[in-house]
């Protein structure tokens, strides 16, 4: 049996393990003592490896390039030469006809690694000539990146994952750590065992709420009001650190004026919380010698996401909980390399290493290194801009790499319409997905396990992962495919290996310069920023000496008025739908749905969880199939009745095809980060009288969809390579 070291391809914890390989097949996993996981793994880490082997449980691996001559035609198998030629020709045509900004590209926050993301943004900027490059951070932690960049100067976790176990107080806000990052949940439990106080703010009684010292079950959509009330208590009760505020922050007077209205009594109706509990939370937080705030999608997936992030960083600034060990602000990243794709400039406003595209000197540096006369200076489009840009005729070509927007983006009807409205769509993935079914050209990439590279964990930790098995079929590495398209478009791009790409990145991004492949060998790691090769492991925490990465060097205290969510409930759609995740499945499910063990735990159509009182009122029994509809769509799913769900709200996980909650969510976005308000859609839940019909319907629909995706790959597999004129 061979052993190949890897980093888990699921959440952002960055757990290290060995892949066990027999006869070129991954047969198991052995935990390793990585810096973030210290020998522990969760169920996805331990039993989520077999998707690499092409199990075809949910959907098959892509094994050869496929093309369809027209949108109503079936896919045909084509050669790589043809595929590259088609991609280059179509993109060149669109570019010359409509200009470079008519093409949108995505990086991937998943298994492809940092190097591929570097090559993709280079392709967009240097080859196409646009900053239209983005990644799924847009629909996830983009508000954290934008909010923290404004208040503290750096959008990442200020602390390290290990530090979570060492802090004296954890304020966990809108973050279901048990389901999102089980191995980080262990740190929360460790902290608690060492005497840390745990405060949890979440409308749903999540696992950490159960274990918390103080649980604040706030109403869905009241985050900003609660954060302002927290600040109000810190100020009115003199719990804040006056010398820290005076020396290291700015904007206090304005901040104080805005939050003065938000007394715990004033927000009692908005949040549904007892004013004394709000006060108690801040007394605990302020009294702790070290305190850490952690948050997740419950903070970011709102139209007020950026504002609440800024508000939370204000609490840390007010109490001096930054710039030293075991404190800080932790937006804990969901996908294994979503921190990495942001680091590598797969964002429309920054080059790799968070260097603004609007800075002429930075542009000149990159243009010189990349051998182009100039680089685009206008901030590009975001992935959530795509539907309306297509509608207005601004976008004509789309290069989607390792993402499945037709499953994961809000309002899937609008997503499908936007893909149909494009002249040319490439999907480059490892699996046949719902999005790939809508593409013109489908390019098969190597999976995690079949290539090497560097991932960035949620806490800025760069770690290397290695190839364990040979590529399947005709799969090529993502970065090879992009480089070949670039070359065919007249921009010669050649890399021998990922290290060559990484070293180009290090040269161009000072924050990452010290992170060499050699230092990251084996269980090695480097946390950025790491400016010098001599700096062994980089920065465990940010803002040493309380120097914030802003022009003044001070942190910004920021507050703003609360407003209610956009999609309002009414008599037709009286309940709130909040989309969430579950521990056994990941993202669009193309990976976990192809893992025997994980798919065994949970399968279609998924669940809508609801409170027993709501269920009784609606006449719905546990495990019955129900209809859920919104102003945008209607789906069928299974009711799960639990007292952990608050009354008036229902929760669905977003990876199901039949119970696809994103058919229901809407296009209401945060004005700054354009992150959708996944956490609040007005819906109606209805019982289905004929359960037998419903069960059959779900099975038929599921089988038909699986058959369609599988057929697209298998029918072409038998084909000879078509000659496409």
């Amino acid at each position: 049996m061979e052993k190949h070291m890897s980093v888990c391809p699921y959440c952002g914890t960055g757990c290290k393990f060995n892949l066990l390989v027999e006869n070129e097949k991954v047969v198991g996993v052995e935990p390793l003592n990585g810096i973030t996981n210290e020998g522990r793994l969760c169920l996805k880490g331990l039993y989520g490896y077999d998707f690499v082997n092409d199990t075809k449980i949910l959907t098959p691996r892509l094994l050869h390039p496929m093309y369809r001559r027209s949108r109503d035609a079936d896919f045909e198998r084509i050669s790589w030469d043809e595929a590259i030629k088609i991609a280059a020709t179509k993109f060149s045509e669109i570019k010359s006809k409509y200009g470079p900004d008519a093409i949108m590209t995505t990086g991937s926050s998943r298994g492809c690694g940092n190097e591929t993301n570097f090559v993709m943004q280079k392709f967009a900027r240097a080859v196409i000539g646009t900053n239209n490059v983005d990644n799924c951070a847009r629909v996830c932690h983009a508000p954290s990146v934008a909010g923290l960049a404004q208040t503290l100067g750096n959008g990442a976790m200020s602390n390290s994952i290990q530090e979570i176990g060492e802090t004296d107080c954890l304020l966990i806000f809108g973050y279901n750590v048990a389901d999102s990052h089980p191995v980080i949940a262990r740190r929360v439990i460790e902290a608690k065992e060492k005497g840390a106080k745990v405060i949890v703010c979440d409308p749903r009684k999540i696992e950490t709420a159960r274990l918390a010292d103080l649980y604040l079950p706030l109403k869905n959509g009241s985050n900003m009001a609660l954060v302002n009330a927290f600040a109000n208590v810190l100020i009115t009760e003199n719990l804040y650190d006056k010398s820290y505020v005076a020396n290291h922050t700015e904007g206090f007077e304005e901040y104080k004026a805005i939050v003065s209205k938000y007394t715990p009594e004033y927000v009692a109706d908005i949040t549904g919380l007892d004013p004394d509990d709000i006060r108690e939370a801040m007394r605990i937080y302020a009294a702790a010698p070290s305190a850490t705030i952690l948050w997740g999608m419950g903070v970011t997936q709102w139209t007020m996401g950026v504002d609440v992030v800024k508000g939370l960083s204000g609490l840390a600034l007010l109490t001096g909980n930054l710039g030293r060990p075991h404190v800080g602000v932790g937006p804990v990243r969901g996908q294994n390399n979503v921190q990495g794709s942001c680091d590598l400039g797969v964002l429309p406003n920054v080059f790799p290493g968070y260097q603004p595209v609007t800075d002429a000197a930075i542009r000149a540096k990159f243009a010189k290194r990349w051998g182009v006369a100039s680089l685009p200076d206008k901030v590009g489009a975001m992935v959530t801009d795509v539907p309306h840009l297509v509608e207005h005729g601004k976008l004509k070509g789309y290069y989607i790499m390792g993402e499945d927007p037709a499953q994961t983006d809000p309002d899937l009807t609008a997503v499908r319409k936007s893909l149909a409205g494009m002249e040319f769509v490439i999907v480059q993935d490892i699996f046949m997905t719902k999005t790939a079914m809508l593409a013109d050209l489908v390019l098969p990439a190597t999976s995690w396990g079949e290539h090497e590279g560097v991932f960035t964990a949620a806490d800025r930790t760069f770690q290397r992962f290695y190839q364990a098995v040979p590529p399947k079929g005709e799969c090529k590495h993502d970065w090879e495919i992009i480089a070949e398209i670039a070359t065919a478009m007249g921009y010669p791009m050649h890399y021998q290996n990922t290290q060559e790409i990484w070293d180009e990145l290090r040269e161009l991004a000072p924050k990452f310069y010290g992170a060499t492949y050699e230092k990251m060998e084996g269980l090695g790691y480097v946390q950025w920023p790491c400016y010098e090769v001599e700096d062994a492991h980089g920065a465990k925490y940010l803002y040493h000496g309380n120097k914030f990465e802003r022009p003044s060097g001070k942190g910004l205290l920021y507050a703003c008025e609360w407003h209610p969510p956009m999609d309002q409930t009414d008599s037709d759609f009286p309940m709130i739908l909040c989309t969430v995740r579950e521990v056994g499945h990941y993202s669009c499910r193309s990976m976990t749905g192809n893992c025997s063990a994980l798919q065994t735990l949970a399968d279609e159509p998924g669940f809508v969880t609801m409170n027993p009182k709501d269920a009784k009122r609606l006449g719905i029994k546990d495990r019955e199939l129900v209809h859920v509809s919104s102003r945008r769509g209607k789906i069928i799913t299974r009711a799960q009745i639990t007292e952990r769900t608050n009354e008036g709200a229902v929760y669905m996980t977003y990876q199901w095809w039949i119970g696809a909650c994103n058919e229901l969510t809407g296009e209401n976005f945060d004005p700054t980060s354009k992150t959708p308000e996944y956490k609040y859609s007005a819906v109606k839940v209805e019982p289905i009288a004929d359960q037998l019909w419903a069960e059959n319907h779900v099975q038929q629909e599921y089988a038909s969809l699986k058959g369609k995706l599988r057929g697209a790959v298998e029918n072409t597999a038998a084909m000879k390579v078509a000659e496409v004129a």
Partner: protein, 178 residues
């Protein structure tokens, strides 16, 4: 004293890693591949109520009601635990009714007979199905090893005596404080 696996609800996050670890440990090939909803039969179950998340499994009782209820003598004390001799199990479910914790099940598996070297189907075979402490697994209890939050531990006589001694000491110190 019989050993048993104890779960700490203060550490459990309800992730069900233990359930998969258990199911995997009892697959002959040790592979995830053949795992499917129809054959997923973990001997440890994660239970979530409004206030509790924890795993439940066999207590390996000292005076085991399942053992006492078995008319076939299929349940025995062995290796400081309660074990089932599956060859004697007839699937009468007395043990299921007797278990006060709801952690004994009777399942059926396809039975095969070997006739002149040829495997032929022989209907189904019943099995009293419960935690066997992974006694045949060199690495020990699979659930304990896999739990990401260390919420599971094996309790044996020595570890129980040690925690009891610590508790008694704490009780004594508390008495002085009063």
């Amino acid at each position: 004293m019989n050993r048993f696996v104890a779960a700490d609800p203060g550490k459990c996050i309800g992730c069900r890693t233990c359930e998969i670890a258990c199911a995997m440990a009892h697959r002959p090939d040790g592979s995830t591949e053949a795992l499917a909803p129809t054959n997923f039969e973990p001997r440890i179950r994660v239970i979530k109520t409004a206030t509790v998340s924890t795993a439940v499994m066999c207590h390996h009782c000292e005076d085991a009601p399942c053992l006492n209820a078995c008319p076939e003598g299929a349940i025995v004390y062995r290796a400081d635990s309660v074990q089932v001799d599956q060859s004697r199990c007839v699937g009468c479910k007395n043990c299921v009714m007797a278990c006060p914790f709801g952690v004994m099940e009777v399942i059926t598996v396809p039975a095969v007979k070997s006739i002149a070297g040829i495997q032929v189907s022989a209907g189904v075979k019943a099995r009293a199905h419960k935690c066997d402490l992974c006694i045949d697994r060199a690495a020990g209890q699979a659930c304990v090893g896999a739990c990401p939050t260390n919420a599971l531990r094996l309790v044996d006589e020595a570890s129980l005596q040690q925690s009891l001694a610590e508790l008694r000491e704490r009780t004594a110190i508390a008495a002085i404080a009063v």
